[in-house]
Subunit: 209 residues, 2 copies
DNA sequence: GTCTATAAATTGATAGAC
DNA sequence: GTCTATCAATTTATAGAC
């Protein structure tokens, strides 16, 4: 099994359930026994569709990257809008896209973090490539604004892009925990958080004396 | 084994090696067999010191929280400094403290992310409490600045604190991956990144016309 | 494509000697 | 406190019928 469209009902069920389980419990946390039970198929059937556990994980990860890419590409690109509106829209849309497919996001985040830890990290490369696309998108928009004199010249667009991506990634990953902390009420309102962040970035934190 | 100071040589070796392995490979990714081998002790000796795998993990997590707390508390608090200098110092010091004990940070980050996924999450509560302390520290400083008219009134200090923490947490977690991406050269220079972020937050991204 | 049955290795954990 | 030897259960994976 390596093609992107699963053919049989079983293969679909396996991929779907495996995505959920790998995303929530990690590679080592999922056993083929439990996966088979929860997917409603026999264990042997999993090995019929996927040569081994790692191949299954790789297929799951590849699907996650694709669906994340699909969601991202569906972000509307408004033409007649100001620079500030555009980056705000991209920023808020990015967080929304993370939340639209939580399991894909979790899988990719997991791999991002593993990138530095284990050598010979083949699966992480696909994920890095996916994020690279996002970063390039942000940086492109920011650089254009900078050339138009709408963004401070001494700001590195890549650093600003990282700051924007950071806040969304961390918020998605930790919002449940944030919700349990003191005074972080906005944890329930993702878009409110994203807008608040952009307001700070655009206007700065210093009062206009 | 539940006290904080390991008594025997073996116990120390076990805790130290377990911290590394759990941090890098997660709870399910570590087997007692491998842990015993890598720690240079017998598997039975692990079960002599810790009643079971989960108890060991809990002990490791507790130690990680303590050492993270120790590092954090050692951040110097300058008296005669401006508001901007103070928050920049706190921000940069926070990232430095994350990097000073990478395994503790990884363990805690892992738990932060699990908080929303699995029910009855006892270990995560300690970690959340640890982060809560950090957030309160940030928020306190920001609120003081706000009352002194040095921070915009319509900014939620908790949201700004989250933005600051976010960027550092994500940077730490993903810097290896960031390093592999297009144009993100600052990924090698943590303190440079943290300073750049604070520069953006303080001065905003809009040029002074 | 799907299943039951089974194999071989590894898992978390214990018994008991020193 | 540390070890060797061992246990039952679970793990990944395969064989072979339908």
């Amino acid at each position: 099994m390596s093609q992107n469209r699963p053919d049989s009902l079983g293969a679909r069920a396996i991929l779907q359930t495996a995505t959920q389980m790998f995303a929530r419990e990690g590679y080592a946390g999922v056993s083929m026994n439990r996966l088979a039970t929860e997917a409603g198929v026999s264990k042997a059937n999993i090995f019929h569709h996927f040569s081994n556990k790692e191949a299954l994980y790789l297929a799951v990860l590849e699907m996650a990257c694709e669906s994340a890419s699909d969601v991202m590409d569906s972000t509307p690109i408004p033409e007649n809008s100001t620079f500030e509106e555009r980056i705000t829209l991209l920023h808020c849309g990015f967080l929304a896209s993370l939340e639209q497919n939580p399991d894909s996001t979790r899988l990719m985040t997991r791999e991002l973090g593993r990138a530095g830890l284990s050598a010979a990290n083949v699966p992480a490369e696909k994920v890095i490539a996916q994020f690279d696309i996002r970063f390039i998108r942000f940086i492109k928009l920011l650089t254009a604004g900078q050339q138009a004199g709408l963004l401070r010249e001494d700001i590195d667009p890549a650093l600003l892009a990282t700051l924007m991506v950071s806040s969304n990634m961390f918020f998605f990953q930790s919002k449940s925990a944030l919700n349990a902390m003191t005074g972080l009420d906005f944890a329930k309102d993702s878009q409110g958080f994203a807008r608040g962040v952009m307001d700070i970035l655009i206007h700065g934190i210093v009062p206009k004396s």
